[in-house]
């Protein structure tokens, strides 16, 4: 039975080129900004600056991965940034009062973060709480808890060994970005090659269909939130070790960038779509904007505003891309 369907023409000519550019807009935007910042200040091209960018990208990058997992199952976790501060202070406080080995404090902190994620997941699936509000409440609770625990003081008495990872170099390269690279690879492998990862995309794309196809939707969501909490806590440990300090509002200011990065990188806010390589692009783009603006001596009063504008443009271009590919279908 012949079924004629409108043929989509192969990508050719200027329209095809335009589409290619829009598909890769994060990377083009990134290259363009690097060139601009480099021209404005040659220091931007030095190895030291590159390392700095990658170090700064590590904490944001882990948080962006932590945001992405709930986004992929069509939920959202707003508590990641405050989870980062809270879980690290749990570990650090244990270390300051007792003679526990540093690594045990770190692990307990990370476990606390993962448990918070698990709790979020249980509330959202078993109690059917709306993730936007549940995690918003969790965010406020954890922010408050951090302030209560620290009494507004900054904690700096972590052991040297605890702080090592934030300062260390291996063969002249900082360790932090290596952790980021490992996390990217791990998340990419989980999403692409495991039953869990494949289920994540199915649940985010159509939860009802996934359930009818035999996927345990609630379990997948709980796992996604737990992994999100785990990654936030790892980010929390790295941030504390890098700063060698935990302030009473540790992690404040990270949340919105951590949400913006994956969305710029093509993770759908409606779930089911998004790849790790895009998340990396989004994270690097935001970090380059942030570092670049300070290097070219933009007065700090303007950095946030210009950074916001850059994100705005990136998202506007992305919206154009979506419209263009929808029009072609």
């Amino acid at each position: 039975m012949p079924q004629p369907q409108p043929q989509t023409r192969g990508a050719g000519g200027s329209r095809g080129a335009l589409r290619w550019m829009l598909q890769n807009v994060v990377w083009l935007w990134l290259v363009g900004l690097i060139v601009i910042f480099g021209v404005l200040n040659n220091f931007f091209f030095t190895v030291a600056n590159l390392q700095n960018i990658l170090i700064q990208a590590t904490v944001l990058g882990l948080l962006a991965l932590a945001v992405s997992l709930p986004l992929l199952v069509a939920e959202i976790d707003l508590s990641i940034a405050s989870n980062m501060g809270f879980s690290s202070v749990v570990g650090a406080m244990l270390l300051s009062g007792t003679h526990l080995p540093w690594w045990l404090g770190m692990l307990i902190g990370i476990a606390a973060g993962a448990l918070i994620g698990l709790f979020n997941g249980l509330c959202i699936t078993r109690l059917r709480m709306v993730s936007l509000i549940e995690t918003l409440a969790m965010m406020i609770i954890l922010q408050g808890a951090l302030l209560a625990i620290t009494h507004g003081n900054t904690i700096t008495d972590m052991p040297m060994a605890y702080d090592w990872i934030g300062q260390a170099n291996v063969l002249g390269w900082p360790v932090m970005p290596i952790i980021f690279a490992l996390a990217l690879i791990a998340v990419a492998v989980v999403l692409r090659a495991t039953v869990f990862g494949r289920s994540v995309y199915a649940v985010g794309g159509n939860a009802l269909a996934a359930a009818t196809a035999g996927i345990r939707v609630n379990r997948i969501k709980i796992l996604a939130f737990t992994a999100s909490g785990f990654l936030s806590a790892v980010a929390g440990y790295l941030l504390a070790a890098w700063q060698m300090a935990i302030t009473s509002n540790q992690g404040a200011g990270f949340l919105l960038y951590a949400i913006a990065a994956p969305i710029i990188g093509g993770v759908s806010v409606f779930g089911g779509r998004g790849r790790v390589i895009g998340i990396l692009g989004g994270v690097l783009l935001l970090t380059v904007i942030h570092v670049g603006l300070s290097i070219v001596n933009v007065p700090s009063f303007y950095v946030d505003m210009i950074g916001g504008l850059a994100i705005f443009v990136a998202v506007a271009i992305d919206a154009m891309r979506v419209r263009l590919s929808a029009g072609a279908a």
Binding site: M1, P2, Q3, P4, Q5, P6, Q7, R9, A193, T194, V195, F196, R198, S199, Y201, A202, G204, G205, N206, L208, A209, A210, A211, T212, A213, G214, I215, R216, S268, G272, R273, A329
Partner: protein, 514 residues
Amino acid sequence: MTAIAPGSEAPRDPILRVTGLTKEYHDFAALRDVSFDIRRGSIHGLLGENGAGKSTLVGLIAGMRVPTRGRILLDGREVQGLDVKAAEQAGVFLVTQEPMIVGQITVAENLLLGHWPQQGGVINWKELRRQARRMLEGTDIDPEALAENLSAVNRRKLNILRALFSGGRLIILDEPTAALTVDDRTVLFDFMRKLREQGITFVFISHYNEEILDICDAVTVLRNGRLAGSSDDISTMNSARLSELVLGRDLQLFERRTAGVAAPTEAGFRVRGVKAPLVDIVEFAIRPGEVVGFAGLPGSGAKEFAQTLFGLNPAETGVMRLATDGGETPLPPGPPEALARGIAYLSDDRRRDGLVASLSIGDNLSLSSLPVLSRLGFVKRRAEAGLIRRYFREMGVKAPDPAVSIDTLSGGNQQKVCLGRLLATKPSVLILDEPTRGIDVGVKEDVHRMVDKLTQEGLSVIVVTADLGEMSRVVDRVCIFSGGTIVETLHAPDITKERLLKAAFNRRDARALA
């Protein structure tokens, strides 16, 4: 090519005349040289497979697209090249499958949406209600009700009324009976007949020959973008003739023959004492290779019992026994357990809980088999690729390759993918809930043949369908449900549409389907 029924002559006063209408996209003609007339004050059926050009044709008439060649005359005046707004001003309205209704406001507000009577920006509620009440006269719709509380059929009515309020004279209804029950269909058809008497003209798009024959005065059939046939007098048509025009060949309707198959007496699958919401079944059994139909009105328990077997409407009590694994066990609490036991279920609504539109054809095919295809949580890539290739080919999915997004497929091909996903789990009991709803005649017969072949290999199949003509052709036995229990069972030679109608539905429903 033309198959214009003999004896039909062009109506003298057509509200719409289309001549030589052609629409080309790049190197592909979606519509080629189509000409026909629509008589004023008639209900004109438009029939054809997906991709036959129905949507293109009505899109051109409603001003959503511009024709490449050809003329569209409304009341004898050229109208091609109008946009949607201009077409609506001329009185042509397209009512799509997705009713454009705002759920959170009242029926009255919806009815006059965009035309609320106002004075200096303040809504004149009294006037609004007065106008709405006048429009709704003779219907059972409450103008003050929230639109989201309307039944499916009243939503359809509301959309039609809205088009009329805006000055619609030619209303195009794109598959208005999709998702309507038999009862609702009758109500909608009565409503349309009443409006026809007031001089309103309808174009009625449907997949069902029976509906076209029931409600329409005239019919136009499209095939592969061309006019396959047209008749100005529906009484010269019958269902077989329509199917032939749709498919372009003498369609061999599938008829299941069980006489030749030696029926094993041992039940392959048996359940006892099943209690679940809307379900109360003492006992039900099905043999390997048997096809059993479940029939009944909505809420009768037919669909609910089928879903209980798959764990979608979880059983409070009840045990099952599969011949393949012996002992009695509780019914599956959910789909994962059901699939693991060899019970598979095809959803009645592909878009809602069948396919994952954001995934590729291949990912949709392997979705239910991932646990079997994995080791230590990792999907075995080569095994998965093999499974995808196999079922992509066996189901005859029409797509360049399995990596293509499933969103690009026609409804029939999407259904094949959903079915392929289930067969890949190697079930011993297959439950098909409205398996051919909204898919073309050709694909429908493909699905029936495929299922029939599987039963010869010992698969037990349960079919839930409201299409009784289809039911009578494809099953060995029909269980008729009412009040959550099986009230009557018909066996193969005695299963006719008429018997089914009598058993399952009251006379008013019977009229709508017969």
